[in-house]
C-alpha cells in the first residue's frame, strides 16, 4: 500500500489515542513506535509530534469507530469485480439508512463455502471521514487508510472457523461483531460504558443473548480493547461462553522495548496494530478513503514513476551527451589541425618546372628491367630450356612480348611457358598456339607465346599515378 515500509496505525479511542508504527521485513512485523496519548487538546499537533518521534514515514491509517459506521452483508453470485461492484452499489443504496452521497463506502469480497461471494459493505458518515482527514492534513500526514475499528482489530488475532463474537471494548462504546471464520455477519455498537466499571459484563451479557439464540448462534467470544481480565471472566460466566482475550503483539518483534512501557492491557492496542498491519498490505480489501482521494493518490503515484523514469533517462543521457561533447570537440580540434596543416603545406607547394615530373617518371620507368629489351633478351636466353629455338621476338613496352619459334616437344614448350611465368618481368605468359610440323627425320612444334608486361604509364599504360598532380 505504502511506498515506504513503515506504516502508522492511529486508534482514536474514547479514553485515549493509541499510535503504533510497524515495519515489515522478512515476513515479520517489527514495532518501530508505540504510544498511548491522553486525549490531546491539539490533535494535529500531537499526531505531528508522535510522527516526528517515530522517524521516517508520513502515511497514517486511521480507525473509524463502529458507532459511526454501518455494516451490511450480502451473498453475491460469482462474477467479475466490476459486475459485483454494481451489485454491491445496489445493495448499499437499498440497505444503508442514509443516501450514499452522505456516506463514504466501500466493499470487500470473500469466498463462501457455497461458491458464492460474501460481500461486506461498510459505510461511514462523510462528516466523520472529513473530520479524520482534516486531522491528518493538520499534522501534515498522508492519509493511507480509513478502516472501521472492528475490521482492523480482528486482524491481530487468530480467527476460529466456528461462529464467534468479537467484543471490542472501549471506555464508552463496545462493538459486537459476529463472525463466521473471516466473514463478518453483523456488527453493532453498544453504549456499555467503561469495562472497568461494575455492571459492564451484565449489560453485555444481555446484549449478547439474542446473538446466542439466533440461527447458528455463537460458540465463543474474542475480547479485544480496554477490558481488564476481571471483566473478561465476568463476561464468560455471564454468557456461559469461552472468552478468549486477544494479544495483538504476538509474533511482533520489539527490538526497542516499547511494549514494556505501554499502559493498559495489550488488547487495547489491537485496533492500532491492526490498522498498521492492514496499511502495510499492498492492496487492503476495504478502505473508506474517498474515491477521489484514492484516485488522486494513484495519479500522483503514476506521476512519480513517470518523473523517476524521466530522471533516469536524464541521468543516463547526461554522461553520454557530455562524453559526446568532449569527443566531438577533440575530433573537431584535430580536424582543424589537419586542415590547417594541409592548407599550410598546400600554400608551400612550389610547382616544379613544367614537364619535370613527367620526365622523371619516364626516366624511372626506363630503369625497370621490363622496359629494357636487352634485359628481356638476357632473361630469355638464360631461362629458355634446351629444345626451344626462337625465330621472332616482338616487344611492346608496357604491353607484351610475343615470342615465336620452334620446340622439339610439347613438354619442352610447357617447361618454357612455366619458366616465362616465373620471370619477374612478366605478369603472366600464355601459349597462343602450338602446331605440329613434320620433317623428314623428326617432328617439331611451331609455337607462339604472349607474355604480358606490367602496365607502364610512361609508355601509355593505365597504371594509376599516386601523389598530388599540380599543373
Amino acid at each position: 500500500m505504502f511506498g515506504n515500509r513503515q506504516a502508522f496505525g492511529l486508534d482514536i479511542g474514547d479514553d485515549a489515542w493509541r499510535i503504533v508504527a510497524l515495519r515489515r521485513g522478512g515476513g515479520r512485523y517489527e514495532v518501530t513506535y508505540a504510544a498511548r496519548l491522553s486525549l490531546p487538546d491539539d490533535p494535529s499537533g500531537a499526531l505531528a509530534m508522535a510522527m516526528r518521534e517515530a522517524g521516517s514515514g508520513r502515511r497514517v491509517a486511521v480507525g473509524l469507530p463502529a458507532s459511526g459506521c454501518a455494516f451490511k452483508t450480502a451473498s453475491l453470485p460469482p462474477g467479475n469485480r466490476s459486475a459485483l461492484a454494481q451489485v454491491a452499489r445496489f445493495e448499499a443504496e437499498n440497505q444503508f439508512p442514509l443516501p450514499l452521497r452522505e456516506l463514504v463506502w466501500d466493499f470487500a469480497l470473500s469466498p463462501e463455502p457455497s461458491g458464492r461471494r460474501h460481500a461486506l459493505i461498510a459505510g461511514a458518515r462523510r462528516a466523520l471521514v472529513d473530520e479524520r482527514l482534516a486531522l491528518l492534513r493538520g499534522a501534515r500526514a498522508v492519509p493511507g487508510l480509513l478502516l472501521p475499528t472492528p475490521l482492523a482489530a480482528i486482524r491481530t488475532v487468530e480467527q476460529p472457523d466456528e461462529p464467534y463474537l468479537l467484543v471490542l471494548a472501549g471506555s464508552e462504546w463496545t462493538d459486537l461483531c459476529r463472525y463466521e471464520g473471516e466473514r463478518l455477519r453483523g456488527c453493532r455498537s453498544v453504549l456499555a460504558g467503561d469495562p472497568n466499571a461494575e455492571g459492564w459484563a451484565d449489560r453485555l451479557t444481555r446484549e449478547i443473548r439474542p446473538w446466542q439464540l439466533a440461527e447458528g448462534g455463537i460458540n465463543r467470544i474474542v475480547l479485544l480493547g480496554t477490558a481488564p481480565m476481571d471483566a473478561a471472566k465476568a463476561l464468560a460466566s455471564g454468557a456461559g461462553l469461552t472468552v478468549m482475550t486477544g494479544n495483538p503483539w504476538q509474533a511482533i518483534r520489539d527490538p526497542q522495548g516499547y511494549l514494556h512501557e505501554l499502559e493498559g492491557p495489550p488488547a487495547a492496542y489491537a485496533t492500532a496494530v491492526g490498522l498498521a498491519m492492514t496499511a502495510l498490505e499492498r492492496r487492503p480489501s476495504l478502505n473508506l478513503l474517498p474515491a477521489q482521494l484514492i484516485e488522486s493518490r494513484r495519479r500522483e503515484r503514476r506521476l512519480t514513476w513517470a518523473l523517476a523514469a524521466w530522471a533516469l533517462a536524464l541521468v543516463l543521457l547526461a554522461p553520454v551527451a557530455w562524453s559526446g561533447h568532449v569527443k566531438l570537440g577533440e575530433r573537431q580540434a584535430s580536424l582543424r589541425e589537419v586542415q590547417s596543416r594541409v592548407k599550410e603545406l598546400q600554400g608551400r607547394v612550389d610547382a616544379p618546372e613544367p614537364g619535370m615530373l613527367a620526365a622523371r617518371e619516364v626516366a624511372t620507368s626506363l630503369r625497370r628491367p621490363e622496359s629494357q629489351p636487352l634485359e628481356v633478351l638476357r632473361l630469355l636466353s638464360m631461362e629458355m630450356p634446351e629444345g626451344i629455338a626462337l625465330s621472332n621476338l616482338a616487344c611492346d613496352r608496357g604491353k607484351s612480348v610475343v615470342l615465336k619459334g620452334r620446340a622439339d616437344s610439347n613438354p619442352t614448350l610447357a617447361t618454357a611457358v612455366r619458366a616465362l611465368n616465373n620471370l619477374v618481368v612478366f605478369e603472366r605468359a600464355t601459349l597462343d598456339y602450338s602446331n605440329l610440323i613434320k620433317g623428314e627425320d623428326a617432328q617439331a612444334y611451331d609455337f607462339q607465346i604472349t607474355c604480358i608486361l606490367p602496365a607502364d604509364r610512361a609508355a601509355g599504360g593505365k597504371q594509376p599515378r599516386k601523389g598530388l598532380v599540380v599543373r
Binding site: L314, A321, S334, Q339, E353, A358, A359, R360, P373, A394
Partner: protein, 183 residues
C-alpha cells in the same frame, strides 16, 4: 492537487531536458560521423601532399641528371628540329657498333604534361653481338632513348643476319606550347 501540479511541472522540465539531451546526442552522433569522414578525407589529402612533396624533392635532387637525359627546348620545337638531333645520336650508336640503319620513319610526336615524345621507327640487319652492343648503348644513351617497340626476326638461313625493327623515342621538355605534330 497542488502537489500533482508541482510534480507535473517537474516532470515536464525533466522530459524537455531528456528530449533535448537526446537531440544533442543524435546531433553529436551525426556530427561525429561527419567529422570522421572529413578527417579521413583531410588525412588522405595530407598524405597525398606529403607524397607529392617527397616526389618533388626527389625530382629536384635528380634535377640535373634528368635535365641531361630529357633536354629542355624552347617553343616552338617540332619534329623538324628534333629529327637531326635524334638521327645524329642514333647513327652514332649504330655505326659505332658496325651496323647500318636500313630505314628510318618518324611517327607523330605525343605531348603529355609538357613532355613531348618523338617516336622514330627504324629497321636494320645485324648479328646478335652487334645488336646487343646497340641495345646497351641505347640503354645508356644521353639524351634518353626509350625502346617502345622492338622486334627481331631470324633470317631464312642460319648465316643470314637478324632483321631488327625498333621504335625508339626521344623526349624533350618544351617550354610553353608544345609543338608536336608530324615532321
Amino acid at each position: 492537487m497542488n502537489r500533482q501540479r508541482i510534480l507535473c511541472g517537474i516532470m515536464l522540465v525533466f522530459a524537455l531536458l531528456a528530449i533535448g539531451l537526446a537531440g544533442v546526442c543524435v546531433y553529436q552522433y551525426i556530427a561525429t560521423r561527419t567529422t570522421a569522414s572529413a578527417m579521413a578525407a583531410q588525412r588522405g589529402t595530407l598524405e597525398q601532399t606529403l607524397e607529392y612533396f617527397d616526389e618533388l624533392a626527389r625530382a629536384r635532387a635528380e634535377g640535373r641528371q634528368i635535365s641531361a637525359q630529357v633536354p629542355r627546348r624552347k617553343a616552338p620545337w617540332s619534329w623538324s628540329e628534333q629529327l637531326p638531333v635524334m638521327v645524329t645520336q642514333l647513327s652514332g650508336i649504330v655505326e659505332r657498333s658496325g651496323a647500318n640503319i636500313d630505314t628510318l620513319q618518324p611517327a607523330p610526336a605525343v605531348e603529355r604534361e609538357h613532355l613531348t615524345r618523338f617516336p622514330l621507327r627504324l629497321t636494320l640487319r645485324t648479328d646478335l653481338a652487334r645488336l646487343t652492343d646497340i641495345m646497351g648503348s641505347i640503354r645508356r644513351a644521353v639524351p634518353l632513348l626509350s625502346v617502345d617497340h622492338f622486334a627481331i626476326r631470324t633470317g631464312e638461313k642460319t648465316d643470314e643476319p637478324l632483321q631488327v625493327e625498333m621504335t625508339l623515342s626521344s623526349y624533350a621538355i618544351i617550354a610553353g606550347q608544345a609543338a608536336g605534330g608530324k615532321p
